[in-house]
């Protein structure tokens, strides 16, 4: 080893070397005094141990004093100097050594918590292959500009955010969404920096690079969340402001009354509320870091503490419990051909942006161009463009929110809607229509009536498949003692069928968007702490009303992340029981840490005041309690 590398080694490991040296000197000095009668030599070595171990502490103490902050290092320095002055060399060396050892271990363990997120950032490659005028060039990933085309080989990491313009592949998006299963990507699909291209080559048109990628935005938000103080933390900080000065006053007072120097110096040593101040932030930072790595963005300690109290989870049905991909399951004409019913409905719905409208228009386009084919009700898919029908525009159309649409075409009035809309317009429902509707709704389908010039000519049944994971997710929440509720705009019969399929405790049907908020307020008035799960866009108001708003599939949609208290990056319901349990575990962890800290301080104070605990023992217990709360908090990193 040359001189330079020795200096480097020393710099890097300074704290460990200083602690070890002071420990060895302390051990040597102590044994010399204990085994022999060389008391002067023993004292000298112990003083040396104090100086070696205490130099850095005293230096920081000096900065604390000049910056007018009252920290633990000032207190430790005062205690060590005091102990030497009254001739307690052993106590002085022990306090300094134990403190150095404690803070060395604290620094090391905290480093693990602090770097938990950096692993995520390291997922993004440093360079990107860019296509310039047909030539491939290697450039730093941060310098790729918007709309430049990046080529990613199979097995390579994607360096930028962008849209696929060529190629097809399976991409592992775990770093961004936490999902371990790869996602199929083809033309027009969005890909994220830091994800892994597993199969085919992809050409990507860049939409964001460097600090302007989804992954970097998420990590910035996670850090802001970790730094935001929870109510418990701010309470403790306010308490800590008074605790340290109070203990110093107590130490001075105790000396004035008892003339016992050891007693008042020991009070100084325990005068820093160490474990109490460190515990809650470590728990919260670890929990938020863990959640981030699993694709759950928690907006901060405050939200996390509230989420720990959740006892009711309300799910929006469409797109949350279901896949949100509505398709036409059946078309039935009453005195009119099925095909005509579908095309009438499609024309009326063409300009509507409702998900049911999209499904009807799609089904009409996919129908074969051949004339009506009798009683067959299932649309035959036909992929060729020639086989796709065009759907004419309506002359005009109006949306009746939560009920349906009214449009005009070829001089006819077409109404497509639910029972409520028909009732509003005074349209009678014949019993064979009602029978059909009841039968389809019993299967969990949603039925719309098609009315031409005041007569019901048909009905269309639409189906939105349940997510495969929905029943097990609901069961997992129930096992954790949490009530589950489904909120939907659908009619009662459809809702009941879906609710039964999912196994949910309760459902509320026929809700208009604003009704969902009222329902949540009702549960809150009953004393529930309510979490609401939705897509974060259509149900933003109810997410905001709930104690904890959980948005799903939030990667890439900033609005959802803004409104929610918790955002699931992937469309993965299974993260919900995980997030709720993690929040509960965090709440307990914070309580454990606060409890442990308060207990330690109480026992120490009692021990010091009754002279059972002296300097070294006080320091040992103090440092041990700090390490214990850090390690306890860090358990949440591996939850």
């Amino acid at each position: 080893m040359n001189k330079q590398s020795i200096t480097q080694y020393y710099r890097k490991h300074r704290k460990a070397i200083v602690t070890a040296t002071s420990g060895l000197l302390y051990g040597g000095g102590w044994s010399l005094g204990y085994l022999t009668s060389f008391e002067m030599a023993s004292a000298a070595i112990l003083v040396l141990a104090t100086i070696v171990g205490g130099y850095d502490i005293a230096k920081t103490a000096y900065h604390e004093v000049t910056n007018r902050t009252l920290g633990i290092k000032t207190l430790v320095t005062l205690a060590a100097i005091g102990a030497i002055v009254i001739g307690e060399y052993w106590e002085a060396a022990a306090v300094v050594f134990l403190f150095s050892l404690g803070s060395y271990l604290e620094g090391r363990t905290m480093r693990k918590t602090r770097t938990a997120l950096q692993e995520l950032l390291e997922m993004t490659p440093d360079t990107a292959t860019v296509r310039h005028d047909g030539e491939l060039q290697e450039v730093p990933a941060r310098e790729v500009e918007e709309s430049e085309v990046v080529v990613v080989k199979p097995g390579g990491k994607i360096p930028v955010d962008g849209d696929v313009i060529d190629g097809e592949s399976a991409v592992n998006q775990a770093p961004v969404t936490g999902e371990s299963a790869p996602v199929h990507k083809a033309d027009g699909d969005e890909v994220y920096a830091g994800t892994v291209n597993q199969e085919g080559a992809l050409e990507i048109r860049t939409t964001g690079a460097g600090s302007d990628t989804t992954l970097e935005r998420i990590i910035r938000r996670v850090e802001e969340a970790q730094e935001a103080q929870s109510p418990t933390e701010s309470l403790i900080d306010r308490f800590a402001k008074y605790y340290t000065p109070a203990v110093i006053v107590l130490a001075i007072g105790a000396y004035a009354v008892t003339q016992n120097a050891i007693l008042s110096l020991t009070l100084l040593v325990i005068g820093c509320p160490g474990a109490l101040v460190i515990g809650p932030p470590v728990s919260i930072v670890s929990a938020i870091g863990n959640a981030a790595r699993s694709g759950v963005l928690m907006k901060g300690g405050e939200h996390l503490e509230r989420a720990g109290k959740i006892d009711l989870v309300a799910f929006d049905k469409t797109g949350t419990l279901t896949k949100g991909e509505t398709t036409v399951a059946d078309v039935e004409g009453f005195g009119v051909a099925d095909d005509e019913v579908l095309s009438l409905a499609a024309t009326a719905e063409k300009k509507s942006e409702h998900h049911l409208a999209d499904a009807i228009v799609d089904a009409a386009r996919e129908r074969p161009t051949a004339a009506t084919d009798g009683g067959t009700t299932v649309a035959r898919a036909d992929d060729t463009d020639a086989g796709r029908r065009s759907v004419p525009d309506p002359d005009d159309f109006d949306v009746v929110a939560g009920k349906g649409v009214i449009g005009h075409t070829d001089g006819q009035e077409v109404v497509v809607g639910n029972r409520a809309l028909l009732a509003d317009r005074g349209i009678d429902i014949p019993s064979r229509v009602a029978d059909y509707v009841r039968e389809r709704e019993g299967r969990g389908e949603t039925v719309v009536h098609v009315v031409r010039d005041g007569d019901i000519v048909g009905a269309i049944a639409l189906r939105d498949e349940l997510r495969e994971t929905a029943p097990s997710v609901v069961a997992a929440l129930q096992d954790a003692g949490i009530e589950t509720v489904m909120l939907t705009g659908d009619n009662k019969r459809t809702a009941a069928a879906v609710a039964e399929e999912v196994g949910i405790d309760e459902y509320r049907a026929e809700l208009l968007p604003e009704d969902k908020q009222t329902v949540i307020e009702g549960y809150q008035a009953d004393g529930h702490v309510v979490a609401m799960v939705g897509d974060g866009i259509n149900d933003a108001p109810s997410l905001a009303t709930a104690d904890v708003g959980i948005a799903m599939g939030a990667a890439g949609t900033d609005t959802a992340i803004e409104t929610a208290d918790m955002a699931l990056m992937a469309d993965d319901l299974e993260r919900i029981p995980y997030a709720v349990k993690l929040s509960k575990a965090t709440r307990w962890n914070v309580l454990e840490n606060v409890g442990l800290a308060v207990l330690t301080v109480t026992v120490l104070l009692a021990g010091v005041l009754t002279s059972y605990v002296t300097l070294a023992a006080g320091m040992l217990v103090h440092e041990a309690s700090v390490l214990l709360v850090i390690l306890n908090g860090m358990r949440l990193l591996r939850y």
Partner: protein, 71 residues
């Protein structure tokens, strides 16, 4: 002109150490706003770049016994 910079200090060993560094940085000439977070180790500084030199921030943090990394 006002500019911002960030460092990461991974070796803070007590919350009060972070507050001391925060105080020390706020006393550096030209610094308009500082935030030091103990839990994440993130140091955020907003400064007047005609007065303050980012090297001075590094030195200030180092003189307190901690190792800043650029982040």
């Amino acid at each position: 002109m006002s500019d911002t910079t960030q460092f990461r200090v991974l070796d803070f060993d007590c919350p009060s150490c972070a507050s001391t560094v925060e105080r020390a940085l706020s006393n550096v000439a030209g610094v308009q706003y500082v935030e030091v977070h103990y839990a994440t180790g993130r140091v955020e500084i907003e400064y007047d770049d005609s007065v303050a030199d980012p090297d001075a921030f590094v030195q200030t943090i180092e003189s307190q016994g901690y190792t800043p990394q650029t982040a």
